[in-house]
């Protein structure tokens, strides 16, 4: 296939807001977006070239430089790491004689890492070109290595590499209620738009994506915002490491989700919905498109839904950027731009997608909304706690016997979840992912609820054998990789934190590093522009408060240690001078000259 940029642009009706989708099409043909292609796209779309270049370089799944014909990306969540991903990656790099990120000389393969791919219940996982492969073992890595060596196209690889398993271990309201397609829409029409919003409000439904905002209030604000056009956006970015519950909902309950989006469209007066799906879930694209098509055929989407209103849903695929889960960055991404969170106010409910009133809701929120529309507010109110009605779907992973999906009424204790999942000797639980809360063994009585321990769904368990500092180091690396770079505190703070944690974990950290880690984390928390930066310091601050001895054990007596390896810093000069005498090294003796 040869690349014709203007044909691709024409296929997207020359619509600059579709730039991210256009770049996916270019990547699919060429594996990268070369500088002349950037120029051609910019011209065809009427955009400044620099803006297109900016978008290409923002998303980690796009690249302006050639990568391998086989682009291997190991998922780098802590659960992958615990399941041995670093060793597997090293093994694969060695067998191709490659450095991380390097492209082999024949252009065959490049091997790197990517943030959590949402397969934590079946890791370690990787992405190869656009396919996800779970449950990596040395044997599977061996098979993959041979296939790459043989230059076998990924779509001809054996089927047994790809299946994504579904591990639903506990079902409650959402996962056990069947709904015939159209039932929620009919109920909403019967009740009327305003009354539907009221019903949602009375159900006490709060956003499941993290912030816990009242869904009814959000819908009402959008419905009453001035202007003829409105949008419903479903946030299926699910980028928080350790979260994979939307994956399950999208795979097994897509009809219910689309039902919820359609109800939302009816209720607020929107005729268009957009599902923003993370690029790490390519295996969901075909099934979701098929479900949408089936619903169109059934008259549940399109110009005349149930002869009452117009509503259709479009699928947008992200491109590897956690920050695009933040609702205003997501909207920017939908408009074909870099995913930079907007200044607020104004909020998306009045100035969202294309500056029009927009509802952004999480997948689980919209599924719950469909059920409330059908069965009424009491359906949700009957379970959970007064402040957190309904249920929460948790993605349980890490040191448990049965990782997978667990749905509980709000108010369930952390210990209960651990018991059900078969956890023993639990040292810590990271609830809500790196941006959430790190709980120590003394806090397991606490409850999953907005008023106690809120969770967007992640529940990662660490037993007594785990090094909690290595866990925190993984999280700081994640934030540094995912910071959008817009604001000073997060752009610089996440990188400095990752560097300092790396020193601490490797035993070359000093007391100054620990002091600075707290300082940097607090500065990010107080001054960052969006939720990524304000929460990026959480793992460090939680660990300092709850696992302080782990830090102290790792530190040496000096308040300050060199921030770099002194002896290694002489290596290039040693090489150039062919010296290896004592003076060409830093020995331990020299450092003893220094008093604490």
């Amino acid at each position: 296939m040869t690349l014709d940029p203007s044909a691709i642009v024409a296929r997207h009706h020359g619509d600059a807001s579709r730039l991210v989708q256009i770049l996916h099409d270019v990547m699919a043909v060429e594996g990268h977006v070369a500088p002349p292609v950037i120029t051609a796209l910019a011209r065809a779309l009427g955009l400044p070239r620099g803006q297109v270049e900016g978008v290409v370089e923002f998303y980690s799944f796009f690249s302006s430089e050639p990568r391998g014909r086989f682009r291997v990306l190991f998922s780098d969540n802590i659960t992958d790491e615990m399941a041995g991903s670093h060793e597997l990656r090293k093994h694969m790099l060695d067998s191709f004689r490659l450095q991380p990120g390097e492209v082999s000389r024949d252009g065959l393969v490049s091997i790197g890492t990517t943030s959590c791919t949402g397969l934590c219940d079946q890791g370690p996982a990787m992405l190869v070109n656009d396919r996800a492969i779970p449950r990596l073992t040395p044997a599977r890595i061996g098979a993959i290595t041979s296939l790459i060596r043989g230059d076998v196209p990924v779509d001809r690889w054996p089927d047994n590499l790809f299946p994504i398993a579904s591990h639903v271990e506990r079902r409650d309201l959402l996962l056990s209620t069947e709904l015939s397609p159209g039932a929620a829409i009919d109920a909403a029409i019967a009740r009327g738009a305003a009354a539907t919003i009221e019903e949602i409000t009375r159900s006490g439904l709060r956003g499941r994506g993290g912030a816990g905002f009242s869904t009814g209030t959000k819908w009402a604000a959008c419905a009453s915002a001035p202007g003829p056009e409105r949008y419903i956006v479903c946030n299926a970015d699910e980028g928080e490491p350790g979260t994979f519950k939307d994956r399950e909902l999208l795979a097994a309950h897509a009809d219910l989700l689309f039902e919820g989006m359609t109800v939302a469209g009816f209720a607020v007066g929107a005729s268009k919905g957009i599902l923003y799906l993370r690029a790490e879930y390519p295996f969901l694209v075909e099934p979701l498109l098929a479900t949408l098509e089936a619903r169109r055929r059934a008259g549940l989407l399109g110009e005349r839904v149930r002869d009452a209103f117009a509503f259709d849903i479009e699928l947008h695929v992200g491109a590897g950027a956690y920050v695009c889960g933040e609702e205003s960055a997501l909207i920017e991404s939908l408009e074909g731009k870099r995913g930079i969170p907007r200044n607020r106010p104004p909020y998306p409910v009045t100035h969202g997608y294309l500056q029009k009133p927009t509802v952004v809701n999480n997948v689980e929120t919209l599924v719950a909304a469909a059920l409330v529309a059908t069965h009424g507010a009491g359906f949700l109110r009957a379970v959970g706690t007064p402040k957190s009605s309904g249920t929460k779907i948790l993605s349980v992973s890490g040191d448990v016997a049965r990782p997978g999906i667990y749905e509980y009424p709000f108010g369930v204790s952390v210990q209960q979840v651990l018991d059900d999942a078969g956890a023993v000797d639990t040292q810590a639980v990271q609830v809500g992912g790196p941006s959430g809360m790190l709980l120590s063994a003394s806090e397991l009585h606490r409850r999953i609820a907005f008023e106690d321990v809120p969770s967007a769904g992640a529940f990662m368990v660490f037993d007594g054998s785990r090094d909690m500092l290595a866990v925190v180091e993984n999280f700081t690396r994640f934030f540094a990789h995912e910071s959008c770079g817009f604001c000073t505190p997060c752009r610089v703070g996440t990188t400095l934190s990752a560097q300092m944690m790396k020193r601490v974990v490797s035993g070359t950290g000093s007391r100054r590093d620990v002091k600075d880690l707290a300082k940097v984390s607090n500065l990010m928390r107080a001054t960052s522009h969006c939720g990524l930066g304000t929460t990026a310091g959480n793992p460090v601050l939680d660990a300092l408060a709850k696992f302080r001895p782990s830090f102290d054990k790792r530190l040496r007596s000096l308040e300050v240690l060199p921030t770099f390896d002194l002896d290694e810093a002489l290596a290039p000069a040693r090489e150039a001078t062919a010296r290896d005498d004592e003076g060409a090294h830093f020995t331990n003796q020299t450092s003893q000259a220094e008093k604490p």
Binding site: G50, Q51, A480, H481, C487, T488, A526, S528, H529
Partner: protein, 241 residues
């Protein structure tokens, strides 16, 4: 402009600050002669809100003052140790991130970043410098770009797009890799439409976009912040308008 109705006010560090409907805390404070340190704000452009040096506490919570509209009765803290420490931390982040060798910088003495550093009593960047590798662009006959000092404030991006209508500058990359790019396939300034009388030439708060052969013309002692600290210069400029 005089109106019958008294303007609404908020409190900043115990003083009443009048404001117009929709005005930001920062703009109102500067107009009233109360300095709040800032870097990415410019009165002629929509506020950007990226440097966060203008952070204040409004009714007890931290916000960037340049992007937050004032409300009647707001209680704002600004010139207090806690906030000045945060600001100093942010300025230290910027010095840590880039390569700022003031002694050899043409902007020295006229540089906002440096002047804010002085104002906050910053004597070192504190952290281990990142020493990024950012080659210069000397391709343009009249303009030199020294990316080492870019603080990613997007003022040149905004000026070139909105005033000059050329979009010569954009930002690319993510996180700490984020960087300024010019609008040319070659990546070279010479291949863009930039001309020396563009607005984009005059907005950079630091020493990135430089006229060739014009450096170090103002003698030390007479540069923008030599005689008066930025705390005074910034509010004089506002008052003069």
């Amino acid at each position: 402009m005089s109106t019958e109705k008294p303007r609404p006010t908020f409190q900043m560090d115990g003083h009443d600050v009048p404001f117009d409907e929709g005005q930001s805390i920062l703009a109102a404070a500067l107009a009233a002669g109360r300095y709040v340190p800032y870097l990415c704000y410019h009165p002629e452009f929509q506020p950007h809100g990226s440097c966060k040096v203008c952070t204040v506490k409004i009714n007890g919570r931290t916000h960037a003052s340049c992007t937050t509209p004032a409300h009647e009765g707001d209680v704002v803290e600004s010139n207090v140790d806690e906030l000045n420490d945060m600001r100093k931390g942010l300025v230290q982040f910027l010095f840590t991130e880039g390569n700022h060798f003031c002694p050899s910088c043409e902007a020295s003495g006229n540089c906002t970043l440096q002047a804010v550093g002085y104002d906050l009593g910053m004597t070192s960047a504190h952290y281990s410098p990142l020493f990024p590798d950012r080659p210069l662009d000397a391709s343009h006959p009249e303009v030199l770009l020294d990316f080492n000092r870019c603080i990613l404030c997007e003022l040149c991006v905004r000026a070139s797009a909105l005033v000059d209508k050329k979009s010569v500058f954009s930002l690319a990359g993510r996180g700490i890799q984020k960087h300024l790019v010019v609008n040319a396939e070659s990546g070279k300034l010479a291949d863009t439409e930039l001309s020396v009388d563009d607005k984009a030439m005059s907005v950079c708060p630091v020493g990135v976009i430089l006229r060739k052969r014009r450096g170090f013309q103002v003698p030390i002692g007479e540069r923008k912040y030599d005689e008066h600290p930025i705390r005074e210069v910034a509010v004089q400029k506002q008052k003069g308008e």
